[in-house]
C-alpha cells in the first residue's frame, strides 16, 4: 500500500477507529459491508452497533458490488455536473453515492449499476457506481 494511502487511512481511523477495516479494504479495491452476525443483515452507513437489532457483533463482509439506482439527481449547477444517487445494493441496504463513467442524461431509476472505486477528497478510494452493462435486464 502506498505511503500516502496508509497516511490517509491513519488520519480517518484516528477519528473513526472502527472504520479502519472498511478503508483498508477500499484501498485494495474491495467493497465490504458492515454485516450483523446476530441478525444476519448488512446495513449502511457502517455502524459499530447494528441499527437493525442493536448487536455489537459486526463483521465486514465482501459485497457483490451490484445494485440498482433507487433515485438519481444530476447536480446541474456544479462544474462539472455530477450524479448524486441512491443505489439499492443487491444485499439490501440503499446507500447514497455517485454514479460515474456514464452519460449523465441517460441515468434512470431501476438501472443496474456496479461498484467502482474512485479517489475521494483525501485520496482514498471510495465506492461509487457505474452503469452495469453486463447485467441481465
Amino acid at each position: 500500500m502506498p505511503d500516502a494511502t496508509s497516511a490517509a487511512i491513519d488520519a480517518l481511523a484516528a477519528r473513526h477507529p472502527e472504520m479502519r477495516p472498511f478503508w483498508e479494504a477500499a484501498a485494495e479495491g474491495r467493497f465490504v459491508l458492515a454485516t450483523c452476525t446476530a441478525c444476519g443483515r448488512p446495513h449502511w452507513y457502517p455502524r459499530s452497533v447494528c441499527p437493525l437489532c442493536g448487536s455489537t457483533d459486526i463483521d465486514w463482509r465482501a459485497a457483490s458490488g451490484r445494485g440498482s439506482i433507487y433515485s438519481v439527481s444530476v447536480a446541474r449547477r456544479a462544474d462539472p455536473p455530477y450524479a448524486l444517487a441512491y443505489v439499492t445494493l443487491a444485499e439490501g441496504p440503499t446507500m447514497m453515492t455517485n454514479i460515474v463513467d456514464c452519460d449523465l442524461d441517460a441515468l434512470a431509476i431501476g438501472q443496474p449499476v456496479r461498484v467502482i472505486f474512485r479517489p475521494g477528497p483525501t485520496g482514498l478510494p471510495i465506492p461509487m457506481f457505474t452503469p452495469d452493462r453486463g447485467a441481465d435486464g
Binding site: A75, A78, L84, A85, P93, I126
Partner: protein
C-alpha cells in the same frame, strides 16, 4: 398527555428584515426576543425559561441568556434543525406544566444572506465527528440534489409531476403578494416555475425556498398569566416530535418524520386532519410540502400533487389554507430554519391577525410542522396543533 392545553403562546414576533449585514446574530436574537415580549405585554425580567437551537451564538442557550441578562431557572438548547422551535414550544409546555418555568422565551435568528451562504448548491460545513462525513465529503449531497433524489423517487412511484410541484410555489406566491415584508412578492405561474433553471434534476430554482437573514421569537406561558394579558388566547393542544432515521439503509425516500410526529400531535390534541382550519407546513422545497401533506393525512400517499394542483393550498379557495405569509418559498427562511416562521403565521391566523385577504374565517384550530436537517440522512420532524380558546 404532556401538553394538556396548559401552555399559551402569548407573544409572537417575526423580524421584518430579510437582509441584515448591519446586525450581529446576537442582536437579531435580542430584537426578536424584545419583539415577542412586547407583543405579549411582558419584559425580559418576566422570562424564567429560555429555549434556543444551534443558530444561537455558541449553539447553546448560555451566551444569549448572558447577552440578555436573563434570570433563568430552565434552559433548553435542543437542536433538531429547522423544526427546533416547534420542538421548543412542546418542551416549553412540558416545562410549564411541570412547574419548571412560568414564562418561556424561544428565539431564532441568523443571517445566511449577508454571510453569503447559498447552501442549496454547496456542501454544508463538515463535522469531522459525524460518522457519515467521509462519505458525504466525497459524494457531495448538496441539499438541492438530495431533495432532487426525493422528488424523482416520488415522481417514479406516484406519478407526481413538476407541474404539480409548481402549484406549491404558485400558492405561496399568491399569499406572499399580500405580505409587505416578503422576500419574493411577485405572484408566479406554473409556467414561470417550470421555466426557472434546474438546480439538480427534480428541483428547479422556484422549487427552492429563499435565503434570508432575520429571525423570530415566541413567548409561552401558563394559563393564569395568559389570561392576565391583553392578547387573544392561543394554546397548544397537541405536539409530536421525532427523528426519522436512515434505518440502516432500509429506506423509503418518499416518507418523512411527519408520519410519526403528526400522528402523535393529532392523538394528543384529539383531532383529525379534517378538523384543521389552517396549516403552516415547512416548505424548504416544494416536494417536501407534498410529502408532509401525505404523511400528516391531509392527502393519501401519492396524491398530494393533485391536491396542490387543484388549488387546495390557496387561502380563500382551497380546502387547506396554507403558509399564508408566503412561507419559506416566498416570504422568509431566516437562518435556513423554517420552524419559527411556521409557528408565527399559525398564531397570526388563530388570533385573526393574518392579512385580511388571507385570514381564514373562524380559524380556531391550526397546525404547524416541519422537518429539521435534511431528508434522507436522519432528519428531525415536529408537529404542533394550536387552538384558539
Amino acid at each position: 398527555m404532556t401538553v394538556n392545553r396548559q401552555a399559551y403562546v402569548v407573544g409572537a414576533f417575526e423580524h421584518p428584515t430579510r437582509n441584515a449585514p448591519d446586525r450581529s446574530v446576537a442582536k437579531l436574537h435580542a430584537e426578536c426576543a424584545l419583539g415577542a415580549l412586547a407583543d405579549a405585554g411582558l419584559t425580559l425580567a418576566d422570562v424564567d425559561g429560555y429555549f434556543c437551537a444551534a443558530d444561537a451564538p455558541g449553539a447553546n442557550p448560555l451566551w444569549m441568556a448572558d447577552y440578555l441578562n436573563l434570570k433563568l431557572r430552565w434552559l433548553d438548547g435542543t437542536d433538531s434543525g429547522g423544526c427546533s422551535y416547534l420542538v421548543h414550544l412542546a418542551h416549553a409546555a412540558a416545562a410549564i406544566a411541570a412547574g419548571h418555568c412560568n414564562v418561556a422565551l424561544v428565539t431564532l435568528a441568523g443571517r445566511p444572506r449577508s454571510e453569503g451562504l447559498s447552501i442549496g448548491t454547496q456542501m454544508r460545513a463538515a463535522d469531522p465527528d459525524r460518522p457519515d462525513e467521509p462519505f458525504d465529503t466525497a459524494y457531495r449531497p448538496t441539499i438541492a440534489a438530495v431533495y432532487g433524489l426525493v422528488a424523482r423517487r416520488h415522481m417514479h412511484e406516484y406519478g407526481t409531476t413538476p407541474e404539480q410541484m409548481a402549484w406549491v410555489k404558485v400558492s405561496a406566491s399568491r399569499h406572499a403578494q399580500h405580505n409587505p415584508h416578503a422576500f419574493l412578492r411577485k405572484p408566479v405561474t406554473v409556467e414561470d416555475v417550470l421555466a426557472s433553471p434546474v438546480i439538480a434534476d427534480g428541483i428547479r430554482r422556484h422549487d427552492c425556498c429563499v435565503i434570508t437573514d432575520g429571525g423570530g421569537a415566541v413567548v409561552v406561558t401558563r394559563p393564569e398569566i395568559a389570561r392576565s394579558l391583553d392578547r387573544p388566547l392561543v394554546r397548544l393542544a397537541g405536539a409530536g416530535e421525532t427523528v426519522w432515521t436512515q434505518n440502516g439503509g432500509y429506506i423509503d425516500a418518499t416518507r418523512s418524520g411527519a408520519e410519526r410526529s403528526g400522528a402523535l400531535a393529532f392523538a394528543e390534541a384529539g383531532v383529525t386532519p379534517g378538523d384543521i382550519k389552517y396549516a403552516s407546513i415547512y416548505d424548504n422545497f416544494t416536494i417536501m410540502v407534498l410529502i408532509q401533506l401525505e404523511d400528516l393525512g391531509f392527502s393519501a400517499k401519492g396524491t398530494a400533487g393533485r391536491f396542490a394542483a387543484e388549488g387546495n393550498l390557496i387561502a380563500g379557495q382551497g380546502r387547506l389554507p396554507w403558509n399564508t405569509d408566503g412561507g419559506g418559498l416566498c416570504n422568509n427562511h431566516p437562518a435556513n430554519r423554517g420552524g419559527m416562521t411556521k409557528l408565527i403565521e399559525a398564531v397570526r391566523q388563530l388570533r385573526g391577525e393574518a392579512h385580511p385577504a388571507l385570514q381564514v374565517a373562524n380559524c380556531d384550530l391550526a397546525l404547524a410542522c416541519g422537518p429539521g436537517r435534511v431528508m434522507g440522512n436522519g432528519h428531525g420532524h415536529a408537529t404542533v396543533i394550536l387552538e384558539r380558546e
